[in-house]
């Protein structure tokens, strides 16, 4: 074990430039993946914020008894999709209209009768904000006789659905493509290290070292490079995030960075790639010598 660590560390000392280049290459490959991850993270967050606005409004017939509304509200609250139910009286609806639509201030002032109906506003739980779930809730609401109309912005919810699916596929595909490119670049980098030490490997084999013994220092070296590359890429991503947030007015409020577990996963990804790249490169080399 001691020899394993010594040989792995010696590589950094014997070829500092090549080792530094490997780490920087790994860092840049992971940085591209990280930047894309940041975009995906913020895109998903933005979509989630939009999603939270998905709401079903059930307009009530005039003169519906309050106790009927209260009973129905309790029933609706028990729907598995429903997060909250809010009753909005016709007076409250008028007040909201007056404060929200100031350009119609005069028209509202001259009203003899409140034209706005009372309503029930239903917010849905996360996971039930897609078009199918919203439509299902709306259909059940239409079954109540005192509900005159149900609105939920069908087209808008369907577009949101489409955008969510599309962004999911795009994020997955581009993310995978970037990850594959990163794996290839890192594999090539480690292969150069292996080739540089081809003579050493040959001698190790001649004096009776087992293949796993030969692989050991390379795997450790790959893991260390992956770790350092991963940490460097995380720092670069954070620098880019700060730079972007500092220079962009819109982004200042809404932009988020990876949380600690996500960063750990990113660095672990670097280690796994470093290990995998070493394993493949050394394995291929051992088969050929």
């Amino acid at each position: 074990m001691r020899l394993l660590f010594r040989e792995a560390i010696l590589t950094f000392r014997r070829a500092p430039l090549l080792s530094a280049l490997s780490i920087i290459t790994i860092a840049f490959a992971l940085y591209v993946v990280g930047l894309f991850g940041l975009v995906a993270l913020n895109l998903q967050r933005a979509l989630k914020q939009v999603e939270e606005r998905v709401e079903v409004v059930a307009y009530l017939l005039r003169n519906t008894p309050p106790e009927t509304v209260a009973l129905a509200s309790q029933e609706i609250s028990a729907f598995p999709e429903v997060l909250s139910v809010t009753y909005v009286s016709d007076e409250e609806a008028l007040r909201r209209a007056q404060s929200g639509l100031v350009e119609f201030k005069d028209a509202f002032r001259d009203l003899q009768v409140n034209p706005l109906p009372a309503s029930i506003e239903i917010r849905l739980k996360a996971g039930f904000r897609d078009a199918a779930a919203v439509r299902s809730v709306a259909d059940r609401l239409r079954g109540y006789t005192f509900i005159e109309d149900v609105r939920y912005g069908r087209e808008w919810v369907e577009k949101l659905d489409h955008l969510r699916n599309l962004s999911g596929v795009v994020v997955l595909m581009i993310g995978l493509a970037f990850a594959v490119v990163a794996v290839v670049i890192i594999g090539v980098t480690i292969r150069i290290t292996v080739l540089q030490r081809a003579k050493e490997i040959m001698i190790m084999r001649l004096v009776g070292a087992t293949n796993w013994f030969i692989r050991g220092p390379f795997l450790l070296e790959g893991a260390i490079k992956g770790l350092l590359g991963g940490l460097l890429s995380a720092a670069m991503c954070y620098g880019s995030y700060l730079l972007f947030r500092g220079n962009t007015e819109v982004a200042r409020e809404g932009l988020v960075f990876f949380r600690a577990p996500q960063l750990v996963i990113g660095v672990l990804f670097g280690i796994v790639i470093g290990l995998g790249g070493s394993l493949v490169s050394v394995g291929r080399h051992l088969r050929n010598v």
Partner: protein, 230 residues
């Protein structure tokens, strides 16, 4: 020690390395493998240390069946062999003692025993005083001695020397050859591939001559003859 039984080695891209070779080398023998370039000497050596596998026939080296060894068994076989080459194959960034110690370290030898074993091997080849020198600071003959020390450090029963004097001047050649003879006198079986017939003629060791991959003369089996072909 080493037994070849109707061994043929052909290569995937064409060509035959050795053809129908049968040979037995006993414990403690010193055997020359001679022949022109391309006669099959190096192929024979590589078959012996399982770098090549026979295309047909059977090879046993120190009890290991070379044809069917797993990678782990190949490693075990090589720990029982010492191998030296014309080009020394030393690690340039390690001193003489580190090069020798390397052979022990990679086989998992106990750390506390490495130092003494390394010094013993370097003393045996007459290089104890240059233990800390790097290969670039040593002459060709001295580098080959370091390679021999590395080959000896695991106390091998068989020493395979593939053209060990090919890169050396006459004086260094004599020194290295004498060293190999001393090693053999200590009971180690030595197989030396060489095309230096002057060297072969100096002594009366068994000589196996190869031509186009086949054994055309074996002094251990055939009638003695006056001279070997140049």
């Amino acid at each position: 020690m080493i037994r070849f039984n109707h061994v043929t080695k052909t290569f995937p891209r064409g060509g035959t390395g050795v053809r129908d070779v049968s040979l037995h080398i006993g414990k403690g023998e010193f055997v020359f493998l001679t022949g022109h370039s391309g006669a099959g000497k190096s192929t024979m050596m590589r078959l012996m240390y399982a770098d090549y596998r026979p295309s047909s026939g059977d090879i046993r080296v120190s009890g290991f069946p070379v044809g069917g060894l797993t990678p782990a068994e190949v490693a075990r076989l090589r720990r029982r062999l010492g191998i030296i080459f014309q080009d020394f194959r030393l690690l340039e960034d390690r001193s003489a003692e580190e090069n020798v110690a390397f052979a022990l370290e990679v086989t998992g030898a106990r750390r506390d025993s490495i130092g003494s074993k390394v010094m013993r091997a370097l003393t045996q080849v007459g290089l104890a005083a240059k233990a800390t020198a790097y290969p670039r600071e040593l002459s060709g003959g001295e580098q080959q001695r370091v390679a021999i020390a590395r080959a000896l450090v695991n106390d091998p029963a068989i020493l395979l020397a593939d053209e060990p004097t090919g890169n050396l001047d006459e004086r260094a050649t004599r020194g290295v050859f004498q060293l190999l003879r001393d090693i053999n006198a200590g009971g180690t079986c030595v197989v030396m591939a060489t095309h230096d017939l002057d060297l072969v003629r100096q002594v009366s060791y068994r000589t196996v001559e190869l031509r186009e991959g086949a054994v055309v003369f074996d002094s251990g089996v055939d009638e003695p003859r006056d001279g070997l072909e140049p």
